[in-house]
């Protein structure tokens, strides 16, 4: 069995930042990632990021990814790619499949930064070829340079739906419309404006009734809804499309946290069930930390800050030192980022998580 001070599961923005922060404080770090290259979703983010200068706003996601990979390499962080952390067992032993072999790794500390999965939406024929998650579509066009459809209907007008619609236009597809069940656009207006300038209609208070096709998607039936979200059937309409993209949110990928025995709470604004953690990102299981989307769906910018916080906190425990000032600065940057309609709600949910952590830890 291999023994490590810190094992980070998931080398996306949170995991990479955690690794860099911990390594800089003298901790030996191993990152385990199931992909062929680390960086998580950063490399498909070809748009500029939001926030202030400290949040690397104005920089495109993949550039941030390249910067983080360079730093990880220079610091000598060990990275296992194409490696699956398939389970967490007693005494922080992690089961990993690497190069087709089963390896058990015993860790003093673990940071779980496994990200999220896309939410599905079910309607008749959603299992036909030609229906896919918007995130998957973004990976295809921006990473693999494959256009999965020529005439696209986007379901959901959150930031993912809007950004991927725009990137589909850039990739040469026609976006025939964006469907949104709510009476207003879900994402930032700046992203909505970009696709509106291309003449893409955004159908508000509208839902998809079914996909149409025999072997694959040939069209979709969309329909306006009333104030109770009930379809007004007589107003339904057929649109010819060969790709339906689903952008209806994400769910934290938290199975490993369950297996580790962490306590959970439900936070709708953060995408569902999330592990309780304290202000250092430590879960209710000592020396198991969490960071990024798997601790609540937010943005790459917040994932990176949470990663740094977790990385420094691990270093504090292992080395018996304190870096409170540095951590306070990170917490301030997190607070500064959690603003606006969605940011505020996420901020409150995150504060509840910390509060519930202390309530539950006390009653143990």
């Amino acid at each position: 069995m291999e023994e490590k001070d810190l094992v980070i599961i998931g080398g996306g923005p949170a995991g990479l930042c955690a690794a860099i922060s911990a390594r800089k404080k003298g901790i030996d770090v191993l990152i385990i990632d199931e992909n062929l290259r680390p960086g998580g979703q950063l490399f498909k983010q070809i748009h500029r990021f939001f926030g202030s200068k400290e949040h690397m706003a104005g920089v495109r996601g993949f550039v941030i990814g390249e910067k983080l990979l360079k730093e990880v390499k220079e610091l000598g962080v060990e990275v296992w790619l194409n490696s699956i952390a398939y389970g967490i067992f007693k005494d922080k032993v992690i089961g990993v499949i690497k190069d087709g072999k089963n390896i058990l790794v015993k860790a003093k500390s673990i940071i779980i930064s496994t990200g999220a999965t896309e939410n599905p939406l079910s309607f008749p024929n959603w299992t036909l070829p030609g229906v896919m998650g918007a995130g998957a579509c973004q990976t295809m066009i921006n990473i693999h340079r494959v256009l999965p459809g020529k005439k696209v209907l986007m379901i959901g007008s959150g930031n993912v739906g809007l950004i991927v619609s725009y990137q589909l236009l850039q990739a040469g597809a026609e976006v025939v419309g964006v469907v949104e069940i709510m009476p207003k656009i879900g994402g930032y207006l700046v992203h909505a404006a970009k696709i509106k300038r291309f003449g893409v209609p955004i159908y508000l208070s509208t839902t998809i009734l079914e996909g149409v096709g025999k072997e694959e998607i040939e069209g979709a039936i969309i329909c306006p809804v009333d104030e109770n979200f009930k379809p007004i059937i007589k107003k339904k309409k057929y649109i010819e499309v060969d790709l339906i993209c689903i952008a209806v949110g994400l769910t934290p990928l938290n199975e490993l946290l369950y297996q580790a025995g962490c306590l959970f709470t439900y936070k709708g604004y953060l995408g569902g069930m999330v592990a309780l953690h304290n202000e250092n990102m430590e879960t209710t299981v000592e020396n198991i930390f969490v960071a990024g989307d798997c601790s609540g769906i937010e943005e790459a910018s917040t994932a990176m800050e949470e990663g740094k916080l977790a990385g420094i906190s691990v270093a504090e425990k292992i080395r018996g030192k304190k870096w409170e000032d540095e951590k306070d600065q990170i917490r301030k940057r997190l607070d500064d980022f959690r603003i606006g309609t969605f940011g505020e709600k996420r901020k409150l949910s995150k504060e509840e998580i910390v509060r519930e952590y202390y309530e539950r830890v006390k009653t143990w």
């Binding site: 398939y86 089961g95 959603w126 079914e210 769910t251 490993l256 369950y258 439900y266």
Partner: protein
Amino acid sequence: MKNKKIICRCKEITEEEIIEVIKKGIRDIDGIKRALGAGMGLCQGKTCTNLIIRIINRETGIPIEKIRQQTSRAPVRPIQIKIISD
């Protein structure tokens, strides 16, 4: 399968089948799994769990946060058992 809404795509379980077992009194994800096998395919419920939770919520009125999640066990990814049995 015309116009039927598949919920668990790995095991091809439809919404009708799930509603039927909810009517018989099943109220959580593990129960649906035992009754129908939904969530026991290749993706191990990564796709259908949220859909099933919403169906239970809609059919019974139980708040989403009160609906018990499925128990998570290793392996969290489809892997060959022969690799870990060595």
